[in-house]
């Protein structure tokens, strides 16, 4: 099924794009991450211009996180208070990300920065996740439970001025901490076309020390709004959002997300996390190799 993408200026096989969306949707439903970390590189690999890929992937993440966010909202799994601060930070972050995107584009280093960011982020987070889930699985086998982790925020967070109470998260911390975290994920969303869930969730747990039952819901809430802001930002600055591409991805990802959510209910969380860690590490490794090996194309063309 040939579909012409009017912004990417390119004809693609529509079914391949839908399948790609379904794959990332499946991951997002299973693991509660946006799945954008897979969409953007795969689209680029398929021949879609990098800017169009990053801009259109954001709207796919919006779609995939909507139903999840609704589900969490219904069972009270969102701390709107801290979520609002995160979103505010995220919107500022996308603005900064847009400026950075332009600057790096002008310097010709946007691809390299995106690749290096992917390798560092995915490698780091994937490694941590793998370590943690293997430890959990070992503990299950031996029957000795892991020592319970003390839930508390990072000492740096405590040193920030001004303190607010966030009741649902069970926190009394400076709003600057979630604001900065929001800004960081906003920048990453703009640059990498990802939702930032896989960075946000661990950061909420281990840096902010939020209570576990609101972490995933609040992260989805933040991702939802920040990817919306990203889509708007791309529509206004790079003008690279391809609506046809986005709709194809959405068709796949919203269905995939639902199927993935069903899977997730049946599987053990430790297994799921190990699987996700494996996929994340694999993508990171592929990208690291891509940086080191001689690329297929030495030259690249950018319109002046």
């Amino acid at each position: 099924m040939d579909v012409y993408l009017p912004i990417a200026n390119l004809s693609v096989n529509g079914l391949v794009i839908v399948a790609l969306g379904a794959l990332t949707g499946l991951l997002s439903g299973m693991f509660g991450v946006g799945g954008g970390f897979l969409t953007t590189p795969l689209l680029i690999f398929y021949g879609v211009p990098p800017t169009v890929a990053a801009a259109s992937a954001a709207s796919q993440v919006t779609g995939a996180s909507v139903s999840g966010a609704f589900a969490h909202a219904r069972r009270g799994g969102i701390d709107y208070h801290i979520g609002a601060v995160l979103v505010a930070g995220g919107v500022i972050g996308t603005g900064m990300g847009a400026v950075l995107f332009r600057l790096l584009q002008a310097l010709g280093q946007i691809d390299t920065v995106i690749n290096v960011l992917y390798v560092l982020m995915l490698g780091g987070i994937g490694g941590l996740m793998a370590q943690e889930s293997i430890a959990a699985l070992r503990a299950q086998k031996s029957g000795v439970p892991l020592p319970a982790r003390k839930r508390r925020h990072h000492p740096l967070v405590a040193s920030l001025p001004l303190r607010w109470r966030f009741y649902r998260s069970g926190l009394y911390i400076s709003p600057l901490a979630p604001l900065l975290l929001g800004i960081a994920t906003g920048i990453l969303t703009m640059l990498m076309g990802i939702g930032g869930g896989f960075i946000l969730v661990p950061a909420m747990l281990y840096i902010l020390g939020m209570s576990v039952n609101v972490v995933v819901g609040t992260s989805l809430f933040q991702i939802l709004f920040v990817t919306m802001a990203t889509t708007m930002m791309h529509a206004l600055t790079t003008r690279a959002v391809d609506i046809v591409l986005a709709v194809l991805l959405l068709v796949g990802s919203v269905t995939g997300a639902q199927v993935g959510a069903q899977f997730a209910q049946k599987a053990k969380p430790e297994h799921l996390r190990l699987l996700l860690a494996g996929i994340v590490l694999l993508v990171a490794m592929r990208m690291a190799l891509g940086l080191g090996y001689r690329p297929d194309e030495i030259y690249s063309v950018v319109p002046l």
Binding site: S11, G63, L236, P295
Partner: protein, 261 residues
């Protein structure tokens, strides 16, 4: 452009030319009548590229059969654009963009078809003047650059575009029949830029371009594709808002539908 016959424009020259014609019958410049299978290529949903048939006839000024072997070269060129060409180099173990060069006039599409290999038809000088072949593309780099470096970048660009199917060279792509008719098939990939394409046909005899004619093809987005491209370019707010609404609605709808299952 009638590149081959500038000298008979003056009155005296014309008389002289006429005399020559009578004296040396058959040595006069022929007339080229080129045509294209379609003058408009519509880029719409399902567009996977287009096949253009460039055909025509060579006649004597009286409209008779030329009765002589000519070589025909057809050059199809897309709209030119200014670009930056970046070159990756291995720095600290990573392949990153290091060097770059700006070009002022890079055709977004360039195809040459000829009845025989170009090198057998004309000498290098003529080929360079008329840009007959990818080797002779005039890309106009900006700034002062070493010739060696310029050649390296130009070769890199041509190689890249060729592998993307945007630059083509088809020696033997022009078929002649009965010393009168010629035809060449040139295909446009789906990734072509929109704009005005010019098809220039050259009739060449004994290494000299004796006649040339230009025809034009318009490549444009139509219908929905055009609407989307225009909205994305001019109505960023509306377009972005629409994209956001669509993604939220689809996510929500899927959630609802699966709740029923």
């Amino acid at each position: 452009m009638s590149a081959a016959a500038p000298r008979w424009r003056t009155g005296a020259g014309r008389v002289l030319a006429l005399l020559c014609c009578i004296l040396l019958l058959g040595a006069r410049d022929p007339i080229l009548v080129p045509e294209i299978s379609q003058h408009e290529v519509q880029v719409r949903q399902g567009f996977t590229g287009a096949d253009l048939l460039l055909f025509g006839a060579i006649l004597t000024p009286e409209g008779n059969r030329a009765a002589q072997d000519y070589d025909i070269v057809v050059v199809l060129e897309g709209p030119v654009q200014s670009i930056v060409l970046r070159e990756k180099q291995k720095i600290a173990g990573m392949w990153i963009n290091a060097d770059s060069l700006e070009f002022r006039s890079v055709p977004s599409y360039f195809a040459v078809a000829s009845s025989r290999p170009i090198a057998e038809i004309v000498d290098d000088k003529t080929a360079a003047i008329y840009e007959l072949g990818l080797k002779w593309l005039q890309l106009s780099p900006i700034g002062v650059i070493e010739p060696k470096e310029q050649a390296r970048f130009s070769a890199g660009l041509v190689d890249l575009m060729r592998r993307q199917g945007l630059y083509r060279e088809e020696e033997g792509g022009v078929k002649m029949s009965g010393q009168v008719l010629y035809q060449a098939r040139i295909s446009l990939p789906s990734s072509v830029q929109t704009g005005t394409y010019t098809a220039e046909t050259f009739a060449i005899s004994k290494g000299k371009v004796v006649a040339s004619e230009i025809t034009r093809v318009e490549v444009r987005k139509v219908g929905f594709e055009r609407f989307v491209a225009v909205q994305a370019d001019q109505n960023g707010w509306f377009y972005g808002l629409f994209a956001v609404l669509v993604s939220v609605a689809m996510g929500w709808l899927a959630g609802r539908l699966f709740a029923l299952v």
